[in-house]
């Protein structure tokens, strides 16, 4: 069995390993469950840091920063002497709006579902897939009471991070069923359409697959 050191496994978890080396690890994973656990620890530390440091929605600037970042008064147009209000909040609002506009325009052109389906169809839990929009981390696989399979994942872009639950609906198709903030008030709490936070596994009458079970199903294209 080939030996991989921690730095290599970390680079694999971070999607930073050259393709050939990554392929060697992917192959080895099929025969060595312990390897998946070693990779998972790196994925877990990244997830935990990311979620703990999720940006606050709005944070007031300190007076000192406000003063520093206000544009220099009336350097360009002395006629503006009447209009003394600093214009940076407008600029900030405008750039935020532009950012949002760009994001939604991008989503229209590239339906997010495709990159999500692709990631959930192929990623073992604990691994990260970088997509055009950001990152998708597969978190776990659930077997629902009715035999269908669902997966928990985290999807993050530069500005947001959300946990989601999607279920497999046909070959290679995963549909999003529920979303939660990246740091849920209680572990496992999802906001379903009804508005009640629920534990995903309970809602689906599901159980979480072990990494080994998940690996088997993934290798078989999610068939029994």
């Amino acid at each position: 069995m080939p030996h991989f050191d921690d730095t290599q496994l970390m680079a694999y978890a971070d999607g930073e390993l050259p393709a050939a080396e990554a392929a060697a690890i992917t192959t080895a994973l099929a025969e060595d469950p312990a390897l998946a656990a070693r990779i998972e620890r790196f994925a877990a530390s990244r997830r935990a840091l990311k979620q703990a440091f999720a940006l606050p929605a709005a944070e007031p600037l300190s007076p000192a920063l406000l003063k520093l970042l206000a544009p220099p008064a009336a350097t360009a147009a002395p006629r503006n002497a009447v209009r003394r209000r600093p214009r940076w909040p407008m600029a900030l609002a405008a750039s935020l709006l532009l950012g949002l506009g760009l994001m939604s325009g991008y989503k229209l052109l590239n339906p997010a579902a495709d990159s999500l389906s692709l990631a959930l169809e192929t990623l073992p839990s604990g691994e990260i897939r970088r997509t055009a929009e950001g990152e998708i981390v597969a978190l776990s696989t659930l077997a629902a009471g009715d035999g269908s399979l669902c997966r928990e994942y985290e999807r993050s872009s530069a500005s947001t991070s959300q946990r989601g639950l999607a279920c497999r609906e046909g070959e290679g198709q995963w549909r999003e069923r529920a979303l939660a903030a990246a740091v849920p008030p209680d572990a496992g709490g999802y906001q379903l359409a009804g508005g009640e936070p629920v534990d995903a596994a309970i809602a689906l009458n599901a159980r979480r697959l072990s990494l080994e079970e998940e690996r088997q199903r993934l290798l078989q294209g999610w068939r029994d």
Binding site: S62, L98, L102
Partner: protein, 180 residues
């Protein structure tokens, strides 16, 4: 990559937005980075203030088209290291702490819902250069190469620090956090 591109302060708009506007848009991330370095909210505010002052003073040195966020992180990190040096010797990169760490039970490791306070407490036990690389890669999503450029160290150093920092974090947090 659009995520990166948006994160970099919308360089496409740089012709219509000023340096100041872009700096303001990046403040939440700058503040977060400073918090990760200093592990102290007041110190972080002070560091961001100083970094903004320096960034404004040196803005002619920033090359439009390159990542403004990385440039600001670099300024912040350098200021922080300067401050630490002024206070005494900077933490050794191979602290005794790492030698003493118990072998972590990775299987039962920490999970999703760690609070910021818990993580900050753990980060406090890591040397400053490890905090910087954790923040840049795991929180700010810089690639190893970008982190190396930001910190002015070889990529191999980024990787070894990052791996050790994550192992240390895992061991510290794993001790205090009940497995799921």
């Amino acid at each position: 990559m659009p995520g990166r591109w948006l994160a970099a302060g919308l360089p496409l708009l740089s012709m219509s937005t000023t340096f100041r506007d872009q700096l303001i848009a990046l403040l939440p991330r700058l503040k977060r980075f400073a918090l990760g370095l200093t592990v102290d909210a007041t110190e972080a505010d002070d560091l961001v203030q100083a970094a903004c002052e320096r960034a404004l003073a040196k803005q002619a040195q920033w090359q439009p088209g390159t990542r403004l966020d990385s440039w600001l992180f670099k300024i912040t990190q350098n200021l922080w290291i300067d401050r630490l040096r002024a206070r005494g010797p900077v933490d050794d990169l191979e602290p005794a702490l790492l030698e003493q760490l118990p072998a972590a039970d990775w299987q039962q490791g920490f999970e999703q819902s760690l609070m910021l306070g818990q993580v900050l407490q753990a980060m406090q036990q890591l040397p400053a250069p490890m905090r910087a690389v954790l923040m840049l890669v795991c929180v700010e999503d810089l690639s190893y190469r970008e982190a190396a450029a930001t910190l002015d160290v070889p990529i191999g150093t980024v990787m070894s620090r990052l791996a050790r920092a994550r192992a240390a974090l895992h061991a510290i947090l794993g001790e205090h956090h009940a497995p799921l």
